[in-house]
Symmetry: C2
């Protein structure tokens, strides 16, 4: 059985992140800290149940769509469309809270098979309707906000019915699954075979396999299991030009790796209808522990030494001084002071080891020796278990803070080790200049490579009367700072619409030209997620 | 100083593989074995110094080219053009031996910088001349045989002047180098910094970094260092539409990974003018050892167990019974019977460990325990050192055998572990059916992944009076067998012209369509290596 119990509800809250039952007020300790930082808090109004624009699709087109996939799988209900209006970026949430649901899809269609998806795409081409592939709805970069102009309408292609485990190959250690499986559902199915994908991003409880692939997701255990793009060995797509299968071997020299063109394509080139992924044996043992470092620099050097020495554990993250001070690794205990034994100041590292008992013990011994030699102080498993317990909970805080007038958001990037400090400084400066000195900026190293790491920033500030332009300005300042520092505009959140203005700076004019050429080839009429990703 | 001394000559033999000084007759022991297998040998005639077609480029075009890059860098000499006529595939060599030099380039141009390359491409567009990027000239798949029809001529773009180490980043463990550096040259430059790329394909002594990238090369130490496509973190290209730079971070979610579109593009999309690659510390210790397994199946299961258990050493290869019997791992000792202490029959595994003394000792201990538990018999370092000594020498044999009327060639593929046996049987059957039962087929597992492995076949047979159609038929039979078995048509030799008929079966009609669209975008007039790779 799975150690990741399936989340029961299939719908997120329309105005907030995650399980509606878990949405709620700030913990008292957190509220105290936030009031200390930003002054007295006051509740912000939220427009609940704002009206949706009516479905604008012609009756004849709708009738044809129903005929293709079954009438019961074409949904026009306001409640269904409301939950598929945009994703969960801060601009998405701010617009929804203000009652702006103008991006609502005209209809939600739920294909039950690859052939169904092809039929919907053919229908969309015939009627020139934009199609937004939809998995968990967890995009934090505007990836579900398709351009409506020039189209007869927009349909949400909800992949919720594509949830099968199609094949397990225990010899090759691969599994073939459908894209609509959410993280816990896929893990539960594989756990029956003693297997795991090992991909646990913060969105794990809600996001789907198709979304992980389409956005090049990276999970909290990426140091051990790898990024999702490194886990995918095969893909089946439905495109407006028909079926496309890729991935006949673990590796090949038969031309460019076209799988890597589909991974990260964010629904603009085709709809992923099957994925074959690497799987691993479910770990018998999991140990998460904390280490203390005198500074972010010292801790970052230790992280780099581990990964360049081939010693990276399964989970490896390092909070900077600010993040360590407010205990963000434990969202349930922010502001609390439970760990008086821990050294004051400095930085918290979380190491996680997963595998067989012997492998965990052996690796932990090697890492412990290396970190001790580098000057780290072991904190035992307490901080590690606290992190593991709260690892998927941080996004709930954003809504609870927005409720009381505090704007909090995350941004992430990756860069080479030699550029880490410049990127760190550049983003902090950009946020301070845009949001003012009162903004609180936290950071951690969340994913590591031999050549570099990701930097994951959290920023909190008092929300302006209209927080949307305030946030868009800060986001733009960070995008400019990342380009100036030579770092990527996103390490694991994809491009969507929010990062699109900076994609050209990252991949060059020829890069965007190539993306347009590929899209024109596979999607000649441009119906797939128009306006997303490709400038 | 480098442990891989630079090869002095810059030119390969025009009719054979490798260093002309090392080309020669078969060792006596090998000759005896081959005569035992195929009957009495007889020398085959070779047309030496066949005439080349004259340069067909108009004088005005040549003058303009000279003005762009310097007259001394535009070479029309027969000797220079002869050495850049095709590559080193068996069809390439058979045609050259028969005196067919119809594919000779009209001119050889040697750019000295990225800007020079852009200037040559602009010239080629203006005059509609086909351009063949040329590194070490080691292609074994017809990758240097461009289509001449429809063009005013063909020039060889010889990258021999682009040989600088541009930057070393010892913190990020990356280095930026120019594409014309051959393997030993790049290693010598990096060794001065205590670093290595760790990429040692059989072509290492002659092939260039640009070629490694353009063909998705994989080296003999790939289990430890990774495939070349996994080592490249950044690229600079010259295209007919200008400069293209890719790779701002170790990993990114900023859309599809366009580096993976350039890697494997075989000079059809642009010319790589700089590469940034991962580097590692030069290993202090290297240990190569042999293990004996009762069968190929038993050995393959052991290889799979190692790699799926995270225990893969730096080098890991396993010969099948046939290859073990004739001792192909030691080209200098084929047919010799020096190792009477080794068990008769069964299969030879070679393990190589590279790293610090402690890391090598620790890993060797873990691997030894695992292999012993799996039923392997350790053979000590003798077979490993013999393999390491002869690791780059096998290609010389092909020519020596061709000289005496024996056709010998290699083919390679990769597949998932569960499909290994079917692919192995399918290729052997195809070769037997095409070449007759007298053909000798050897195989080894040369590269390993958690999900599968490559299979590297060597076939030898008595050459027909005209061996070219004999070989083309066998090659086609293998291509069909690989497609039928669901394996890749090439794991590390690229597509060239020889594998092109099967590419569509591997990447689908939409895959070839996308490749054409990308080429049309970057190379609108199609001057770059026309006829290669893209069907």
């Amino acid at each position: 059985m799975s150690q990741y119990p399936a989340v029961e509800q299939t719908e997120m809250h329309p105005l907030r992140w995650g399980d509606p039952a878990r949405a709620g007020a700030l913990p008292e300790a957190t509220r105290g800290l936030v009031e200390f930082a930003f002054g007295e808090l006051s509740e912000r109004a939220v427009v609940v149940d704002a009206p949706l624009p009516p479905c604008g699709l012609p009756a004849a087109a709708l009738a044809e769509l129903r005929a293709r996939v079954g009438a019961e799988h074409v949904l026009l209900d306001d409640a269904v469309r409301r939950l598929r209006t945009r994703g969960k970026s801060t601009p998405d949430l701010l617009r929804a809270r203000a009652g702006d649901l103008t991006d609502a899809p005209d209809a939600v269609v739920r294909p039950g098979s690859h052939d169904d998806v092809e039929a919907v795409l053919a229908w969309a081409v015939a009627h020139h309707v934009a199609v937004v592939p939809f998995g968990g709805g967890t995009s934090v970069t505007g990836g579900l906000v398709a351009r409506r102009e020039g189209f007869a309408g927009v349909v949400c292609l909800d992949l919720v019915r594509l949830k099968r485990l199609l094949a397990v190959d225990p010899v090759s250690m691969t599994a073939t699954l459908e894209p609509g499986l959410r993280g816990p559902e896929a893990e539960a199915l594989l756990a029956e075979h003693g297997l795991t994908i090992g991909h646990f991003p913060q969105s794990f409880q809600h996001a789907t396999l198709g979304g992980f692939a389409a956005t090049r997701s990276s999970g909290q255990s990426s140091a051990g299991y790898g990024r999702f793009d490194a886990l995918v060995v095969g893909l089946r797509l439905a495109t407006p030009r028909g079926e496309w299968r890729l991935g006949v071997a673990p590796a090949t020299a038969a031309g460019p790796d076209l799988r890597q063109l589909v991974l990260g394509s964010e629904g603009t080139l085709g709809v992923i209808t099957e994925l074959t992924v690497r799987v691993r044996r479910l770990p018998a043992e999991k140990v998460y522990e904390g280490w203390h470092w005198p500074s972010f620099d010292a801790g970052a050097d230790a992280v780099r030494t581990l990964v360049q020495g081939g010693l990276a554990p399964t989970v490896l993250r390092l909070s900077d001084e600010n993040e360590t001070a407010i205990n963000l690794a434990r969202p349930d205990a922010i502001g609390a002071d439970e760990d008086a034994a821990a050294p004051a100041g400095g930085c918290l590292m979380i190491n996680g080891y997963e595998g067989t008992d012997e492998a965990v013990a052996a690796q932990r011994e090697r890492v412990t020796a290396a970190l001790t030699a580098l000057g780290g102080t072991p904190l035992g498993t307490g901080p590690g278990e606290a992190w593991a317990h709260g690892r998927f909970d941080a996004p709930y805080l954003r809504d609870s803070l927005l409720d009381v007038g505090v704007l909090v958001e995350t941004m992430e990037t990756a860069t080479f080790w030699s550029n880490r400090d410049a990127v760190y400084a550049g983003v902090r400066t950009a946020l301070a200049e845009s949001l003012g000195d009162g903004a609180l900026v936290l950071c951690h190293i969340s994913h590591v490579y031999e050549t570099g790491c990701s930097l994951y920033f959290t920023v909190a500030t008092r929300a302006a009367a209209d927080p949307l332009p305030q946030w868009l300005a800060a986001k733009a300042a960070v995008g400019d700072a990342l380009v100036a520092a030579g770092a990527t505009i996103t390490h694991h959140h994809a491009v969507g619409t929010d990062h699109k203005p900076w994609l050209g700076a990252e991949v060059g004019a020829l890069g965007t030209s190539v993306l347009r050429a590929v899209k024109a080839d596979l999607d000649p009429t441009g119906i797939l997620n128009p306006g997303v990703l490709i400038p």
